[in-house]
Subunit: 413 residues, 2 copies
């Protein structure tokens, strides 16, 4: 998997708070590679809530289809639940055998944990179209159950990696009404990253109490502002899954009756989700720069989003940034092709705080030298004000380097 | 501009038929580079028809805006016309000065050729956002007019190149009712190539007689099947222009009264346009493979087109092909993300004649070894049958190599 992304968090993998009511375990099943962690198991206590968002791909994996079906029947806090995830094989486009593999895996862990099979969720990530040998995963089910520990989330973050160059985790501890709340999450994702949606695997655990419907509403909403607002290559995975689990063990119950608490929880979950989404971009295949595209002044949210996404997905913008070239004409091109309503003479484009273009042309204050210097930063901010309204959208992406091509020209072999 | 694309026509630049009623000239204005042809002039005789299709970009160039305006007033065969094209600077996003440059250039050539300014069309291609020094172009107007020759189209093909590695031309001669008809065209384009639309500069000349409205209808229709069905990088240019000129000098008049002749002409023009469109893809920046994506069995044309475009634009599909890896799972991914209605179990995917996937999984007859061998070809055919209807769409693209990144990480500097 080569060297670690230069954009990986300098502090390394964070310390993750344990979440009361959840235990984790990881092991080596040899799904694709020998001697590396490739399966994680999460065991979730009774009276928990679970919510999820999944890829909209028409060729999504058997596990995604299974999770979506099972979530529909979760009406109130229940459990116990389990989540089983393997890397090395996505079990997508594997026909009836694919569905069979999911069912075999879920029933095996249901049996080992003595919980209903409908409460076991699974995910698979890796190569598309190859048979997933579920027996390999079944063979380590006992080992995984025996190994369950409240502190196993950091190892789980490693077990779900594919082309990732670093494990991704994020954690918070904060108080609501003198009760301590914890949230901890992990993610994987590096290529095949684009809305919609989650474009990766993400598992987040918290000890608040909340109804599944309320949790689902919050997660779907925050997903739009985080995992659905990032792109590495514009390609959308067949396995994308985001699941959020709330155990209620903190004793703090979040609901509509107390909007202030609800807001506090939502803000904390937003920070965790945004942090994980940023880490995925920072591990974008071949990435050497982290790019924020900030669009304002749009006549509608969808218009702001079209422009932000068009810039964030443009190979020409992203190769220019890789070359540290302040080639702002390509940003103009990407705005122009977005399909959004644009008035050339009202546009304002900036790199960081350097105003580049206004009044339909380069700004008189623009200095190519200063812009070239700015492009040497690891993190690049592109700001676009359409001057047509008050709607905003933010997208995050990375640059497009030769390394991306190397990784993807022979990833599978 | 480095070495010539390995996909360039083996026979080299074709011999172009002269078109009675049109003369060409090219010269070095030094717009960006010294000592290379960078301006072409076409002089078109009286009683001609002219039609055009242009980029839909919201930030399109001053020349494009000017051509669109002028074409609106061409109601019947008229002329004489002139077309002036420079490379090295796109005159896009250059504010009021950009419009002024277009007007100065057009009025200069109108004066030199003694024709109305509204009959002079222009185009510019190259870097975005830099002032176009129209005086440099004006300074060689006399030289260009003196140099006009019926045989100058081949040099014109060179004058309009930017990052192109070879000049692109195509020509036909055929008979309609014992009258000899000729069509000759040139194109430029290599990067920033995607629908919509023409995504390049294309100029085609013929000696049939045809009304401007009839010609426009045919050109708009054929454009969808040719230049609007190719992509190199999914980025859309701000300068894309396709213009077709018919001088009527062959004495053969094409109109609705004779549908057979109309069809003959349309087929010939389609061949020229498709040939030029393919040449643009074959000169795609860094291209080492030419890819045809052939989608059939769709429930609607728009559905077929969505799937074809999604595959043709997918960086993961295109990097796999660069690596000669028959990673068909990425084609499944691209179909899945297209937004088109897809039934996984009805899909059939083939490389050339090798059936890869059917019934929701890899085909029992699929041989990885044969597919790997197939991927070594210069031209790759991806066939997708959605099994849901009878609509079709074809897209052409090239692979995505490290060379694309090299070219674009520092094209401007």
């Amino acid at each position: 998997m080569g060297k670690i992304s230069p954009l990986a968090p300098k502090a390394g993998f964070p310390e993750l708070n344990s979440i009361d009511g959840v235990r984790f375990s990881s092991a080596c099943a040899g799904v694709k590679y020998k001697n590396r962690l490739d399966v994680m198991l999460a065991e979730i206590c009774d009276n928990s809530s679970i919510a999820g968002v999944f890829t909209k791909s028409a060729t999504r994996s058997a596990a995604v289809i299974d999770c979506q079906k099972k979530l529909l029947s979760v009406k109130s806090s229940s459990g116990p639940f389990a989540i089983v995830v393997n890397s090395g094989n996505s079990n997508a486009f594997t026909g009836k055998q694919g569905h069979n593999a999911v069912s075999e895996i879920c029933s095996k862990f249901a049996q080992e944990l003595d919980i209903p099979e409908k409460n076991v969720f699974s995910a698979s990530t890796g190569v598309i179209g190859e048979h997933l040998d579920w027996k390999k995963i079944g063979a380590i089910s006992k080992e995984l159950v025996v190994g369950l520990s409240p502190r196993g989330l950091d190892k789980a973050a490693k077990a779900i990696m594919t082309t990732d160059t670093f494990a991704k985790g994020s954690s918070e501890e904060f108080a609501i009404d003198n009760k301590t709340i914890k949230i901890s999450g992990i993610a994987k994702g590096s290529g095949m990253i684009a809305p919609d949606m989650a474009t990766m695997l993400v598992y987040i655990f918290t000890d608040v109490g909340i109804s599944p419907s309320q949790l689902q509403k919050i997660v779907s909403d925050l997903n739009e502002k985080t995992f659905n607002s990032i792109t590495v290559d514009g390609d959308t995975s067949t396995s994308d899954s985001l699941m959020v689990v709330a155990t209620g063990k903190s004793g703090c119950v979040i609901n509509d009756q107390n909007p202030k608490q609800l807001q506090q929880f939502k803000q904390a979950l937003l920070r965790i989700m945004r942090d994980l989404a940023h880490q995925v971009v920072k591990d974008g295949e071949g990435a050497s720069k982290f790019i924020e595209v900030n669009v304002s002044g749009a006549p509608s949210f969808s218009s702001a989003r079209k422009v932000a996404k068009s810039i964030a997905n443009s190979p020409l913008v992203k190769t220019a940034i890789a070359g540290e070239d302040p080639n702002w004409g390509r940003i103009i091109m990407a705005i122009g092709k977005s399909g959004a309503k644009v008035d050339r003479d009202l546009l304002r484009v900036s790199f960081g705080n350097l105003l580049v273009a206004e009044n339909g042309w380069v700004s008189p204050s623009y200095s190519e030298e200063k812009a070239a210097k700015y492009m040497q930063n690891d993190e690049i901010l592109i700001q676009v004000d359409l001057g047509l309204g008050s709607f905003k959208s933010v997208f995050w992406t990375c640059d497009f380097t030769q390394e991306y091509i190397s990784i993807n020209a022979d990833y599978r072999s």
